[in-house]
């Protein structure tokens, strides 16, 4: 049993990152989060914490792809235990050194060697189905793995056609990547595939930094007590997420909001329609989290930087960061922030 991670709600600051993660928990269709920034800012802490925060899923006990119903179990899987159980939302780490076999699954060598049988041994993508796939240092991932992940993330299905096997299974997961831009850039194709992108920086005021260390130290000295102390906050956030999920289908999207989305993306010159769609989805999740029944400008304003900053064409002359550019254009299109909004 892995020890309980640091509680999500006890993370100090980093509001953009935690908000982006909560939004993908409300609507997994947003399509993943990319967290880029300084070292030692709690990127991986947040991902692991999120998994523990999320409500458990119902799945067939022995199913390698966490199927929700018995009918969904893939035909290649020999599942003996077909009881429905509830288990934590899967969060699967994709280590940098993982080979293709381990990611997609491959021939089950043990069975092939001992019984001479052709059987499929599911990989990390199978385990991540209906959960999260986390890649730290995503910018250092080998190119052929990146291509493979793009393909699966887009189709929601993992297809293995090799070594005489022909296997397919659902692989719908939220891709969470983190990395430090100094070590290498991410290919634009992969960048665009992440729904949201947030930058994290180290907090600059000492009080915040002391608070981070104080909490971390308290956690490491006495985990049980620390977790007890944060339980009410964790429960409250979990309730909020569940309520927002329920509310999400009922969120009304007025014509004006669609127009706002389009105008914003045009003004930014973002490539393709993916930006608009993501912006809309994320803003709806934001509205659901807020408890409001209708999508408004304020929601768009709040999620625009994370939904759009990585889809801009690069302007070598513009030194300001992408987030600043998005914020500037949001202001131009929507007007300045009304005093009551924030």
């Amino acid at each position: 049993m892995i020890p309980r991670p640091f509680p999500f709600t006890a993370i100090v600051g980093q509001d953009d990152m935690t908000r982006a993660m909560v939004l993908t928990a409300i609507d997994p269709g947003i399509g993943g989060v990319l967290v880029m920034g300084d070292r030692g800012t709690g990127k991986s802490t947040a991902v692991r914490a999120l998994a523990h925060l999320l409500p458990p899923i119902r799945a067939v006990a022995g199913c390698p792809v966490n199927s929700a119903r018995r009918a969904d179990i893939p035909d290649w899987a020999r599942v003996e235990d077909t009881r429905l159980v509830s288990r934590p939302t899967p969060v699967v780490d994709l280590p940098l050194g993982a080979g293709e076999d381990r990611v997609t699954g491959a021939l089950d060598i043990e069975r092939a060697l001992t019984m001479g049988e052709k059987a499929f041994q599911p990989g990390l993508l199978a385990r991540a189905n209906r959960g999260y796939l986390y890649i730290d240092e995503v910018n250092l991932l080998e190119d052929h793995l990146v291509d493979l992940l793009l393909d699966v993330a887009q189709s929601g299905e993992n297809v293995v056609e090799r070594e005489g096997l022909s296997i397919r299974h659902p692989a719908r997961f939220v891709l969470v990547g983190s990395g430090n831009p100094e070590e290498g850039e991410l290919r634009p194709q992969l960048l665009d595939r992440f729904g949201l992108m947030v930058d994290v920086t180290s907090p600059s005021d000492v009080e915040t930094r002391i608070e981070v260390i104080r909490r971390r130290d308290a956690f490491e000295r006495d985990r049980a007590a620390f977790l007890r102390g944060w339980k009410p906050a964790e429960t409250a956030l979990r309730r909020d997420i569940l309520a927002a999920r329920k509310r999400l289908p009922g969120v009304v999207t007025p014509e004006a909001a669609l127009r706002d989305c389009a105008e914003l993306c045009l003004a930014l010159g973002s490539d393709g329609l993916r930006g608009e769609l993501t912006l809309l989805r994320t803003a709806r999740a934001m509205a659901a989290l807020d408890g409001s029944g209708e999508l408004g400008r304020d929601h768009l304003r709040r999620v625009a930087p994370m939904a759009l900053q990585h889809r801009l064409r690069r302007d070598p002359m513009d030194e300001s960061g992408s987030t600043t550019r998005v914020a500037r254009i949001v202001e131009e299109v929507f007007g300045a922030v009304p005093a009551a909004a924030e």
Binding site: R39, A112, G116, E137, S204, V206, I213
Partner: protein
């Protein structure tokens, strides 16, 4: 505290606190001092992990010989699963990929890391690694006479470690001093906290004192700081404003004393070199040259399936792919006389990757029109670019064009002084044979590629071409020739406009080259090199 006492203490602290300190960055040349330090680390039971360690060695894999002999699946565990600690020799040469794997393992509670850094000048291990190594010790200038081997009672200290308390004021002072030193990462104060605890445990105290905190600041914080500026010692580091002194008992005095101790712990030259190493790892200079994948030379990559005519066969990987099928295939063809039943699909090819050196070709417009306007500025810009290329260990070549022809002033070289001299002596005046310059650059690039270099071009011109390729003075033909050559030149390039007014022809030329266009006064020269697409 003598440098050796400090280094020995770093080793002991790591033995006491282990994973909570992450590891030790030991900057030392091989020698008795390093050997003694490593002997002190013996309780960690570290195993060596060479800079070229393959994934199979790190993560484990199928033990082919055993599996074939026994007909059972036999896997060999990797270093990351079995070793309690890893010793990384020549860590300054480690690739970011390996560092990333080790770092991920460390975050998941993997082995404690001891990085042996033999770096000269501003070489240093990858940042992903040093970030996760709590302690730093340098063994420069330690003689045999300084070494003493008396070791403390580690077992008692280990037992006491977990229950040592650190007063809140001391903890806050450590965090504040890390911020005051300009250290962004929050791992640093956490390491310092663990070090203070371990130091107290070693001294037999149940409560950490200021002395322990000072030691922690020296060993965990000192090397991460930004070196104090020489001219204005009071100036704060740019992105970390001097902290407001924290309220309460901690008080500024504590933090100040810790900062002082940290600053005094390392010789100033070393701190500057470490900071330079961090900067050199930044995006602008991260790679000297592109990466070339192939099947013949370089660092091995995992084998991929392929056809034998496309490369060299990786026998081990091919066997590994074929082995599981032997039972099935034998059943299908019981009379086949061959011992091993291979199919084409089993064949795996070797893949390797190597970094190639980069060659930056400077093509400088020395014509009358350019010389009149901004020759001095252009020379200054080139000098700054040259020194950057030099720092990134790129080679440079210099092509000057004026009058009727272009001339290779300097064939590919690494000598900074030589390039400077040629540049200073560069005469100006005459026409602008832009096409000839592009042709000369193209020739250089072709030759460079043959020598295994990755060429790129920085073109400094005002774009007013007036000499055609054949040497005649014809403005229209000159421009057409230049555009034509630019299109044919498949070379990552950057065009720097040295003219006083924007020139539409130059924009066109830049487009033909598929290169960004930067005008001289706007071009932050620091950023210019990073703009060159690879």
């Amino acid at each position: 505290m003598t440098p050796w006492a400090r280094a020995a203490m770093a080793c002991d602290l790591l033995c006491v606190a282990g994973g909570e300190l992450g590891g030790l960055w030991l900057r030392a040349r091989p020698g008795p001092a390093r050997d003694t330090a490593l002997a002190r680390l013996a309780p960690l039971d570290a195993r060596r992990c060479p800079p070229g360690a393959s994934d199979a060695a790190l993560f484990g894999g199928l033990d082919m010989a055993e599996a074939l002999a026994t007909g059972r699946l036999v896997t060999r565990p990797g270093l990351l699963d079995t070793a309690p600690a890893l010793l990384l020799p020549m860590a300054e040469r480690g690739a970011p990929g390996l560092a990333g794997r080790l770092a991920a393992a460390r975050d998941a509670g993997g082995p404690v890391l001891v990085a042996l850094d033999e770096g000269l000048g501003d070489e240093a291990p990858p940042l992903a690694l040093t970030e996760r190594l709590g302690l730093f010790a340098a063994l420069d200038g330690i003689g045999l006479a300084d070494l003493d081997a008396a070791s403390p009672d580690l077992a008692a200290a280990r037992a006491a470690y977990a229950s040592v308390t650190v007063p809140d004021a001391l903890r806050d002072a450590l965090v504040a001093s890390a911020a005051a030193l300009g250290i962004a990462t929050l791992r640093a104060p956490r390491f310092a906290l663990a070090a203070a605890r371990a130091a107290a445990a070693l001294a037999g105290r149940a409560r950490a004192t200021e002395e322990d905190a000072r030691l922690a600041a020296e060993l965990c914080l000192a090397h991460r700081g930004t070196p104090p500026a020489e001219d204005q010692p009071e100036a704060p580091p740019p992105d970390a404003p001097p902290p407001e002194p924290p309220e309460g008992a901690g008080g500024p005095a504590d933090a100040d004393r810790l900062v002082e101790a940290a600053r005094a712990a390392l010789p100033p030259g070393l701190l500057a070199r470490l900071a330079a190493a961090r900067a050199a790892r930044g995006p602008a200079a991260s790679g000297a040259g592109g990466r070339t994948r192939g099947t013949t030379r370089g660092r091995p990559l995992p084998a991929r399936p392929g056809r034998p005519e496309n490369g060299r066969i990786d026998a081990a990987a091919t066997l590994r792919a074929a082995a599981p099928w032997q039972g099935l295939r034998r059943r299908a063809a019981p009379d086949d006389p061959r011992r091993l039943l291979l199919r084409p699909a089993d064949i795996h090819l070797k893949r390797t990757e190597r970094r190639t050196e980069r060659l930056v070709i400077f093509a400088v417009d020395a014509s009358g029109s350019a010389a009149m306007a901004r020759m001095a500025e252009a020379k200054g810009a080139i000098e700054s670019l040259l020194s950057q290329s030099y720092a990134a260990r790129d080679r440079v070549a210099l092509v000057a064009f004026r009058r009727e022809d272009a001339e290779v002033l300097l064939p590919p070289t690494r000598s900074l002084t030589q390039s400077r001299k040629r540049l200073q002596a560069l005469p100006g005046g005459g026409g602008t044979p832009l096409a000839a310059a592009l042709a000369a650059a193209g020739d250089l690039a072709t030759r460079a590629r043959r020598d295994g270099l990755t060429p790129s071009l920085i073109l400094l011109t005002d774009g007013r071409a007036n000499i055609a390729l054949d040497g005649t003075a014809n403005r229209a033909r000159a421009a057409a020739d230049a555009t034509l050559l630019a299109r044919a030149l498949a070379l990552p390039a950057l065009v720097i406009d040295t003219g006083t007014r924007p020139n539409p022809n130059l924009r066109e030329l830049a487009q033909a080259l598929d290169a960004p266009l930067i005008s001289l006064p706007r071009s932050g020269m620091a950023a210019a090199l990073a703009e060159i697409p690879r």
